[in-house]
Amino acid sequence: MTFHTVDLLTRDGERLSFPCAEDQSVVEAAAAADLFLPVVCREGGCGACHATAESGDYELGPHSEAALSVADAARRAILLCRTYPRGPLALSAPFDRARILTQAIRPRHAVVSERTQIGARTVRLRLTLEDEGEGAAAEFEAGQYMELEIPDEAGDGARARRAYSLANTANWDGTLEFLIRLHPQGRFSEYLEGRAAVGDRLRVHGPLGGFTLRENGLRPRWFVAGGTGLAPMLSMLRRMAEYQDPQPARLYFGVNRAEELFALDELGALSDALPGGFALIPCVWQADADWSGVVGTPADALRADLAVLRGDAPDLYVCGPPALIAAVEQAARDRGVPDDRLHSERFLPGLR
């Protein structure tokens, strides 16, 4: 088997090097070198492991067009889990070195402590981590996610996983909070709608992911969320409030219909808790006559506000389906917001 060297440059300037066989993905080869990259589906389906090939030849394995478009692939954007080297490869990653683990995370168990319907198709799920000898603390960074195993009918045994962003902040009580959109035929949705009950025991993996806050002085932070893409934003905003971060913040929160809005009380509470100020801009795409707020997508609202912005361009955080992310990226580029101020995490139905 032919091996090639992969040089990976992280967002904060660290260079990592490891060998990669031609039939190994970059993610697999990194793991073989005890470098666990922030990935989600590992199947080319979610787009969470976006990176850029700076030089070198490679082959892209099968992947979803929504996760990596033809146009992006033509610009040498890659998915780390679907990239196979054909020569020495230099890559740049959109996450910091600290997001790469040097040992695999052991699975833990957690118990369902709350399951509440909070929107037309959204459930709040709270789990409590068990103390399995290593303490019960929930240690993660705002914006990260966990993978939850779907219990089988017997309550355990199945190994299919779904990744969901955490909506709360790190805590010492072991609480994990998720905002989960219910999808027809979704396996975890079926569990949540049919069988889930307080006291259920789940296996969880994490925390994972590199979609976290960037500390850039007092530059404003603008968040754009589509549907349950709100979860990591809520986590980040709550962490900002907890740490009393001084950056001005605003959130564009988009849903299809007004009745799908959720977590408005929690978001409202942030106004008083964030020292730099907080603006909540709910956006409804298919609004009825009673809706008095922004009509359209959050990307539309963002574009309008960027057009009249004076002063420093904000850091933009966006989480939602690929179309939303593409629209936000375009709006940011049209306004001249530098690429390094745009931080995104995309999710696709069935994978989140």
Binding site: G13, W172, L213, E215
Partner: protein, 558 residues
């Protein structure tokens, strides 16, 4: 960014200094540039504060702000750009407040004005830009090497030597200030020196004199810090410190701030939580007031550069009280807390000894499950402890039982060449005594040195903060032998890493101490010309190999 303030700075044939997107310490260019701008802002405060003092309205609150602000700019202290943006705005407000005091004093007594010049210059005129882009544009014109093309590397290097020495002075003075110990003379010295730097001086002889005056100022500060520590916590006594864990919930305290440690010990008294020291906090165990807490159970881990491993393996939360922090790894990023001048982006910062989150973390985390076999090291040979046996020491020297003393002190670090210091300590002949302070000791403090006539061959004087004790010991020995310090059978082997060590080095030079061995490499800001001056005036020498340097020291003494 351009930064060459620490020992590990980038060294290239094309020129020394970190000048890329990220320094070797892990500091990004934005943070480094904002720190340069904060130093500029502090110069402006110093100019106004010096004027206020001359007008009879000194503002020691401004002085305290300067100490804290400069402390945040030391290597491995604060990496959080957000914090620096806030500090910059605070700095401008402090400067303007002091300026207003000056104006009020002048209005009350206009005749005084004739003798006291106005404060002028860029640091007085500066106002912080409204946004980050603007601040970085301002920072671009005030780096430490801004004047290089005009004045040359020697002048820039001397200014840097003074600035970095002042950063060390500020750090030590801040340690004393948080224990409630300040002195007008120290504030005046800080104001005077930083205002001098604001004048962009170019006279080499004057700059050299100023560098030595920084050393003298630091001697005052070290004495003040010694008084603050011993006044609050008692006189250190030789104490065996456990360096293996005991079962139970656990908190690890690193850095230098003994006041933070004491506050945490009070807040955890009567709980099931054990407190461990790490790194430069090890000497805390020698202080009577601190070791009286039974749950201060031991020391965990090694010197600062081992923290990413030590902290990841520690089964409880960590409190970092001062330098030296390096990037927290993902395994402990959520359970490390900073306080005081320290900061890291995304790491929770605690103020005013509000340690409840730290204690909650300790209760949630597993702690140590079992005792490990007990091992100890001995600390607490501060000035009084050694001077208490000075008679025996002098007798041992006169009897020929002790041939020589080596003071091996300073910082540890990750560079491979630092094994010189362990080779030196363990290779010192059996009829010699090794005194040590700072964190370099971790390279050899578990070695079995034995004793000479009941006097341990390894005497741990304390933190780098305890340099005053070493100076007292040397001075007392010189007095006992009726000679100067340079005539004692004593060699100083200094391991430097950052700016506290720069301040101590200037103090040693100001005291006229010669023939110091300095390593593992020489400061990048010392040009060949400056080094030649230091060699000529003070006999400073770079380290070579441990056996050769031991032999040279013993030959010189003979």
């Amino acid at each position: 960014m351009f930064c060459y303030q620490c020992e590990q700075t980038t060294r290239l044939p094309t020129g020394d200094g970190c000048a890329s997107a990220k320094g070797l310490c892990g500091k990004d260019a934005t943070t480094a540039d904002l720190q340069d701008l904060l130093v500029h802002a502090v110069k402006g405060i110093a100019q106004q504060a010096r004027r206020a003092r001359a007008l009879g309205v000194p503002d020691n609150d401004a002085g305290a702000f300067m100490l804290h602000a400069l402390f945040t700019t030391l290597t491995n202290v604060n990496f959080n750009p957000t914090r620096f943006v806030t500090l910059l705005h605070e700095a401008a407000a402090v400067r303007d407040r002091v300026a207003a005091r000056c104006e009020a004093a002048l209005a009350a007594n206009p005749d005084v004005a004739q003798n006291i010049p106005n404060a002028t210059g860029p640091a007085i005129e500066w106002t912080p830009a409204a946004d980050l882009t603007g601040l970085l544009a301002q920072a671009a014109i005030v780096p430490v090497n801004a004047d290089l093309a005009r004045v040359g590397a020697d002048i820039v290097g001397l200014r840097a030597l003074i600035l970095y020495g002042m950063k060390g002075v500020a750090a030590y003075a801040n340690h004393a200030a948080v224990l409630g110990c300040t002195r007008d003379a120290v504030f005046a010295g800080v104001e005077e020196t930083m205002a001098y730097l604001a004048s962009d001086p170019t006279d080499m002889a004057e700059l050299l004199d100023r560098a030595l005056s920084v050393g003298r100022l630091n001697l005052q500060v070290m004495e003040m810090l010694d008084a603050a520590n011993t006044g609050r916590f008692g006189t250190p006594h030789p104490t065996a410190v456990r360096v293996t864990p005991v079962a139970g919930k656990a908190i690890l305290v690193s850095g230098h701030d003994l006041g933070d440690l004491e506050a945490l010990l009070k807040q955890t008294a009567g709980t099931d939580i054990n407190v461990y020291t790490h790194g430069e906090m090890l000497p805390a165990h020698g202080y009577p007031t601190l070791k009286a807490y039974p749950h201060l159970v031991g020391n965990y881990g090694g010197a600062w550069q081992d923290q990413q491993t030590d902290f990841a393996n520690f089964p409880g939360p960590i409190l970092m009280t001062s330098n030296c922090i390096i990037e927290p790894g993902p395994r402990y990023r959520q359970r490390i807390f900073t306080t005081g001048p320290v900061g890291w982006p995304g790491v929770r910062h605690l103020t005013d000894h509000a340690f409840a989150p730290l204690i909650a973390a300790a209760n949630a985390l597993p702690g140590f499950k079992a005792d490990e076999a007990e091992q100890t090291v001995t600390v607490g040979f501060g000035g009084d402890a050694v001077l208490g046996v000075a008679g025996a020491v002098v007798d041992a020297v006169k009897a020929g039982d002790i041939r020589h003393f080596f003071l091996i002190g300073g910082c540890d670090g990750a560079a491979a060449g630092r094994n010189y210091y362990s080779d030196f300590a363990t290779g010192a002949p059996d009829d010699t005594v090794v005194l040590t302070l700072g964190c370099a000791k971790y390279r050899f403090n578990r070695h079995e040195f034995g004793s000479i006539g009941g006097i341990p061959r390894l005497l741990d004087i304390g933190q780098c903060n305890d340099s005053y004790s070493a100076i007292r010991i040397a001075s007392a020995l010189a007095e006992a032998f009726g000679c100067g310090v340079n005539d004692l059978p004593l060699s100083l082997v200094v391991s430097w890493f950052e700016q506290k060590a720069a301040a101590v080095l200037l103090t040693l030079l100001a005291l006229g101490i010669r023939n110091i061995r300095l390593g593992p490499t020489l400061p990048a800001f010392l040009t060949p010309t400056l080094l030649a001056v230091l060699v000529e005036r003070f006999g400073i020498q770079p380290i070579t190999t441990a056996p050769d340097d031991i032999a040279a020291a013993l030959n010189r003494a003979a």
